[in-house]
């Protein structure tokens, strides 16, 4: 009897997952707990283990397909049972498990199931009619509620949305296919306020068109949503990290030998951010429409570049760790992020984000907030610059810290205070600062 593998729930409030990559094909044998496939839900490909050992007999969801949690995605025939399944049914299944009386749908040749009969989630899949009408009426189908099967946006949904749109230059759309002459508006053609459609790419003959990876799609969607829905404001402050640089230089050899990980600037920054979040709790919060949610845990996400794209693993309860703990936790996460070994737990629950953009040499960036968080800070490249101290010019190691914040939740005063705490914390580090 084949075991049906369902799309797992890879994190609370996760309702669907996208099949990233099948690691096993039909006919492959698989050990119990061996990875079957990768599923993309957040910004990662999480691997789904096989619930039983056996042979993959059916794959029910294709790569790139997004299915609801609980949807069957493949079937595994338990080891040693495959022959029993195909054997003549003369001997009634006296020996086998009594738990599954219903015969498994066998591998009989069948007509392909028409697309209309599928049980997969159809949100985000648009018919040619929907695409055409959406384009003609400047409607983003993503923003339309689908009333069709499995949440599909139907042609009528688009026509309704078009009809509901005020001040539309397009003539009222009927169910009749409209062949319209150029509209002849009385008076100057006024540009209506409407959701701007994305500018289409111009593809020349020798251009290469690369389909989006699932991670790329998630990133694109997140960034779009954050930029379109969160009013970003931005501040920058210069931090004199000369003493921090000196401290690190003096300790790094010994630290590496003793702790087994490198001593970078990241844990110092993380600790400074933790203290700033304690000082300005409104920054450790989330916008909730008609309220603000102040988060009790301090979980700091670290924006991390990987060859699959940007992901943000989270250091849980960062306020309960010292420099050594933060160094180990951050390096562990980065290492696992780059090898694709993060768990869903590593990727969820963040309350604030730190981005070490300086690693690529920038001195000023304008990061996009990881909504629904309220802010994101960057640590920029440390550069030696002449600065004036007590009316004298000195060569100091300087680092810029930038913050993007949700101006609905906090104003410049709070954001400024927040970044000021970071600055004071980093500048107060001296030769005697403890790492523990």
């Amino acid at each position: 009897m084949a075991e049906v593998v369902l799309m797992p729930q890879l994190g609370e409030s996760v309702t669907e997952g996208t099949i990233g990559q099948w690691l096993k094909k039909v006919g492959d044998t698989v050990e119990k707990y061996e990875s079957l496939l990768e599923v993309t839900t957040d910004k990662v490909n999480a691997e789904v283990p096989a619930p039983i050992g056996g042979t993959v007999s059916k794959i029910l969801a294709e790569e790139g397909q997004t299915v609801a949690v609980g949807t069957p995605i493949c079937e595994i025939t338990a080891s040693g049972e495959s022959s029993a399944d195909t054997a003549p049914a003369a001997a009634p299944a006296a020996a086998k498990s009594a738990s599954a009386p219903a015969a498994a749908p066998s591998e009989m040749a069948q007509q392909p199931v028409p697309e209309t009969a599928g049980s997969k989630d159809l949100r985000g899949r648009y018919s040619p009619a929907v695409r055409r009408l959406a384009e003609e009426n400047h409607i983003n189908p993503d923003a339309v509620t689908g009333t069709g099967a499995q949440g599909r946006v139907t042609r009528d949904d688009i026509l309704r949305a078009a009809a509901a749109k005020p001040l539309e230059t397009a003539q009222p759309v009927s169910t009749e296919p409209v062949t319209r002459p150029a509209p002849v508006p009385p008076g100057p053609p006024s540009a209506p306020v409407s959701a701007p459609a994305a500018a289409a790419a111009v593809i020349d003959a020798d251009d290469e068109v690369v389909p989006l990876s699932s991670v790329r799609k998630v990133i694109a969607d997140r960034m779009m949503r954050s930029k379109a829905t969160v009013p970003h404001a931005w501040l920058m402050m210069e931090v004199d990290v000369t003493s921090l640089v000196a401290l690190r230089e003096s300790l790094k050899e010994e630290f590496k030998a003793r702790e087994g990980v490198s001593l970078t600037y990241m844990p110092f920054m993380l600790r400074a951010v933790v203290q700033a979040l304690k000082a300005v709790p409104e920054m450790n919060a989330q916008w909730n429409g008609d309220s603000i949610v102040l988060k009790k845990h301090v979980n700091i996400g670290m924006a991390t570049a990987t060859d699959r794209g940007l992901i943000v693993p989270v250091i849980k309860d960062a306020d309960q760790k010292n420099i050594v703990g933060l160094a180990k936790a951050s390096q562990d996460l980065v290492k696992r992020a780059r090898s694709g070994r993060l768990t869903m737990d590593d990727l969820t629950g963040g309350t604030f984000t730190v981005d070490n953009t300086g690693a690529i040499g920038t001195v000023l960036t304008y990061p996009i907030i990881n909504a629904p968080e309220v802010g994101i800070v960057t640590m920029e490249a440390i550069v030696k610059r002449p600065v004036v101290i007590q009316d004298m010019v000195a060569i100091r190691s300087m680092m810029n810290v930038c913050i993007s914040f949700d101006h609905r939740v906090v104003d410049g005063a709070e954001a400024g205070k927040f970044i000021q705490v970071i600055k004071q914390n980093l500048e107060s580090i001296g030769p005697s600062t403890s790492l523990y």
Partner: protein
């Protein structure tokens, strides 16, 4: 205007046209003395004599072959093949000769021939008395294939077929003969071959079909209307030539198309209709084109439950159209 059955409409049209045109002859197995196994030609031999209503030998190739010769030489033969299932011995005459003579003779000769044949299942006819054969002939350039769905259309299309200068296959569904009734005008009229008929307008789903299935689809549409699903029905009336314009119009109007025929799915006319829509109306489609057809099994079974399972019914059409509407 009289209410007639589908069968009576065919008989009266034959009678009316024969009175009008002496060149028309009827030719086939048992069509004379017996009046045909379904009684379509009953009384015609009495009225028009043995020279015009001729009992033929049991030889379909000869029936069609001699009819082709008669047609080329100036008569208007309307031979009957007793069951469409028996048309295959004549297929060489129909496809190789009748369909091609105009082309082969560079237009010098035509074959004004109408081959009538009862077809279709659901009448406990089993393997050799239930087949749908229209797709074989719809494939052939030079032939016209007509399948009326109502007594009114049966008359207008048969008259048009008889007056056509080229060969026409005229298929009559056996289950329609006595079950389908309707008003038929007394006077002569023609329905042009190649013009579909919009039986019903709707906005959610288009059902494209022909023959007996039109009646089943209309019943399904009534059921669905009560559920708030608005169904449009296009009766093709002829499957070669197809009324491409009306097919595309209805497909564009609703964006959802269900094609229905009793003939089995693979290679059936539904595939051709579907291809036309996909080629010319893609950007109006809101759902995959759907086909409901007889299953791809060798023949109609005799066992009543199996025969019922084979047949496309009103319930099956209702279910398919509902699914498509909800997509």
């Amino acid at each position: 205007m009289a209410v007639m059955s589908y069968l009576e409409a065919i008989r009266e049209t034959l009678r009316q046209e024969m009175r009008h045109d002496e060149r028309i002859i009827i030719y086939g197995e048992d069509v004379g003395v017996r009046g045909g196994v379904f009684r379509v030609t009953e009384g015609l031999q009495k009225e028009f004599g043995e020279d015009r209503v001729i009992d033929s030998p049991l030889a379909e190739a000869a029936i069609v072959g001699t009819a082709i010769g008669a047609a080329v030489n100036g008569l208007r033969p309307v031979p009957e093949i007793q069951f469409a299932d028996f048309i295959f011995p004549a297929i060489n005459q129909i496809v190789q000769e009748a369909a091609r003579i105009r082309y082969r003779s560079n237009g010098a000769f035509g074959v004004p021939l109408v081959i009538r044949a009862p077809f279709g299942g659901g009448v406990h006819g089993a393997l050799y008395h239930s087949q749908s054969v229209e797709a074989f002939f719809a494939h052939v350039p030079g032939l016209k294939v007509v399948i009326p769905s109502t007594p009114y259309d049966a008359k207008g299309l048969l008259a048009a077929a008889i007056q056509d200068e080229d060969p026409v296959l005229y298929f009559e569904h056996k289950a329609a003969y006595r079950s389908i009734k309707g008003e038929v005008p007394d006077e002569r009229y023609l329905i042009p071959i190649g013009k579909a008929d919009l039986k019903r307008t709707g906005k959610d789903v288009s059902i494209i079909t022909y023959g007996l299935m039109v009646n089943y689809a209309l019943k399904a549409a009534e059921t669905l209307e009560k559920e708030g699903i608005s169904v449009e029905i296009l009766d093709l009336r002829s499957i070669r030539p197809l009324d491409v314009e009306m097919i595309l119009e209805t497909a564009k109007r609703t964006g959802k198309v269900l094609i229905v025929h009793e003939d089995n799915l693979t290679g059936g006319i539904g595939g051709e209709v579907s291809a036309l829509i996909a080629e010319h109306a893609l950007f109006h489609l809101d759902a995959p084109i759907m086909r409901l057809a007889g299953p791809d099994v060798p023949a109609m079974p005799y066992s009543p439950p199996l025969e019922h399972a084979f047949m496309v019914t009103s319930d099956k059409i209702t279910e398919a159209a509902r699914k498509l509407a909800k997509f």
